[in-house]
């Protein structure tokens, strides 16, 4: 206590003032070996990730002679939408030559109802699991989560038989049911975790006020769940749009989704392959998930990471 008290910060009590030597910020060189290594590595990997997108796009704008005599990196001589037009309307899938557009509309017809149904059911599941537990509900949930790791191939054949029995094999309702079933584990987990994070007092207060299962769900839980619905929406739209296996097995020849038609166009077409049309078709198929990805940004990250978040 021999020190004089500094009464305020602004008036130094100590008679000593600043000395020579280091003062203020540490000097930070703009280029350090560490920074150079970091950015070089990141840029290198970015090129690896961007290269296919670039190749896809430039190829789709080229003409076939350009492709045959040019190189894969070169920009097209002129932007040429011919290949895009062909891919959309007249590319051949082995049997028919109607392009990708039927596949696009089939994918839309599959994705929209599947997304809505699967999310609704999963939301109800999550809500029941958090707020209305019943004997065995946790066991069902555990099996559901473990079930999501069972290879689809294991359940494929019996599912074909079941849907055939129900008369929905090879129809739109059939593929919708399949997507609902296989989307259920991850979506239920998502909603269960979200509802569990909401204050339970809210639910209890509604119970005391006499509200029942559905009333609480629709009037209290749903209005509070917009963010998680958006995450689920992103997850389901991209997931269902990108599906191949279920589409090829369950959708039926009339409803083959875009991914299946794309694969048919590229891999089972007769005659000389038209690489520009193939790439245009590929871009077109990737467009919907890509748009969702770029528009949703951080929410997409949340969606894909949702699977990694433990309950």
């Amino acid at each position: 206590m021999s020190q004089t008290a500094t009464m305020t910060g602004t008036a130094p009590a100590s008679s000593k003032s600043l000395e020579d030597g280091p003062r203020g910020e540490r000097p930070k060189p703009f280029f350090t070996p560490k920074k150079i290594i970091i950015y070089t590595t990141l840029v290198f990997f970015s090129l690896y990730f961007l290269f296919p997108l670039y190749v896809m796009l430039v190829t789709s704008f080229k003409t076939m002679p350009e492709i045959r005599f040019g190189n894969i990196f070169a920009l097209p001589n002129q932007i040429n939408f011919d290949a895009w037009h062909r891919a959309w309307t007249s590319a051949c899938t082995g049997l028919t030559c109607n392009g990708l557009s039927p596949g696009f509309w089939n994918s839309v017809k599959i994705t929209i109802p599947s997304t809505i149904v699967s999310i609704f059911i999963a939301a109800v599941n999550g809500y029941a699991l958090v707020n209305w537990r019943f004997r065995g509900s946790e066991i069902f949930f555990s099996i559901l989560i473990f079930g999501s790791f069972i290879p689809y191939q294991v359940m494929l054949y019996p599912l074909v038989m079941i849907t055939r029995e129900l008369g929905i094999f090879g129809t739109l309702p059939g593929i919708i049911v399949i997507h609902t079933i296989f989307g259920m584990p991850i979506l239920t987990l998502l909603f269960r975790n979200y509802f569990a994070s909401l204050p339970q007092e809210l639910f209890k207060a509604a119970r005391v006020d006499g509200a029942g299962f559905w009333r609480i769900f629709f009037e209290i839980m749903l209005p509070m769940s917009l963010p998680i619905f958006v995450v689920a929406l992103i997850l389901q739209i991209t997931g269902i749009w990108n599906d191949f296996l279920f589409g090829v097995v369950f959708a039926g020849t009339q409803n083959l989704p875009m991914t299946v038609q794309l694969n048919n166009i590229v891999n089972s077409a007769q005659g000389t392959p038209e690489y520009n049309v193939n790439m245009a078709a590929t871009v077109l198929t990737g467009l919907v998930p890509l748009i969702i990805y770029f528009v949703s940004g951080k929410l997409f990250v949340r969606g894909v990471a949702a699977g990694a978040v433990k309950g």
């Binding site: 020190q3 305020t8 602004t10 030597g21 910020e25």
Partner: protein, 360 residues
Amino acid sequence: MQHSVSIRDLSLNFGSVKVLEHLNLDIAQGEFIVLLGPSGCGKSTLLNCIAGLLDVSDGQIFISGKNVTWEEPKDRGIGMVFQSYALYPQMSVERNLSFGLRVAGMPKDEINRRVARAAEILQIQPLLNRKPANLSGGQRQRVAIGRALVRDVDVFLFDEPLSNLDAKLRSDLRVEIKRLHQRLKNTMIYVTHDQIEALTLADRIAIMKSGVIQQLADPHTIYNKPVNLYVAGFIGSPSMNFLNGTIDGTTFTADDGTVMPINAYEFSSPVTGSRKAVLGVRPEHILLGEAAQAMPFKTEAEIEIVEPMGSETLAWTKVAGVPVTFRCSSDIPLAAGDKVTVGFDIARGSLFDAQTENRL
């Protein structure tokens, strides 16, 4: 004499936000300094600057006479204890203590000697082979202190080390930190928002607000002679009673007209003329009954609420039209509605300029 830690004209900005401004602080060898303030006042930031975990924008920091402004934390001769303990969860207690020394390439027997000494001082020998997950909060914090101890440094930095503990453990560990300081006689800088910790541990307390040290003094001075309204209101629980009024010579006239003689008050500098002022009286400086009769100002008051605290009783009343709390022995029977005589011990009160809020 050489200061253990000396902070000269320190400023820190995050972009355009000024967190610390031209801050000066000299800390003597072996001194226990507490940085006290509400959250966001810059006390933890200051500690992180001293540790070298944050780059300062301007100014210099000296530790043991050496300019360490640009040094890495490990080269500053400091050890640090964190609020969340920050123990390495996958390592045993022994490895937690020795990890830094091992990385530094210290000889094995020296490491063992230091770990053994730290374990002995903190009495954690039986825990050496456990993982942090298997320790209680108090034990974890001891290990965290031990990790600073083995570094054999001159200066210890504590960043709210007891805030994650429950009340009982907190007071136990508080005593232990004090004991540790008495035994090691290191310089210690301790950040907290808990005024009890500050008052019990510190040789000197630095009360901070918005990046500026408001008052730097020993706990007794801080408590009894707060330098401004902010410090007066921040320290003490329940807090000081404040009455607005005017001083003129030897009287203080409260806003409702009540006149109080202030001859007994010791002004820090002579005050002339009349001016708006605030009178501050701590709850324990308001007396009852016979004791009240001896006070320069006394009045009748009606008790509104009584809060028995066990060893003492807090009572709420109104004096000069303002709510006032006072503290008295729990032996005195008090009930709401009672009329009592209360006396203000003005000599031990504080007067502040209403304009500048500084002590008069």
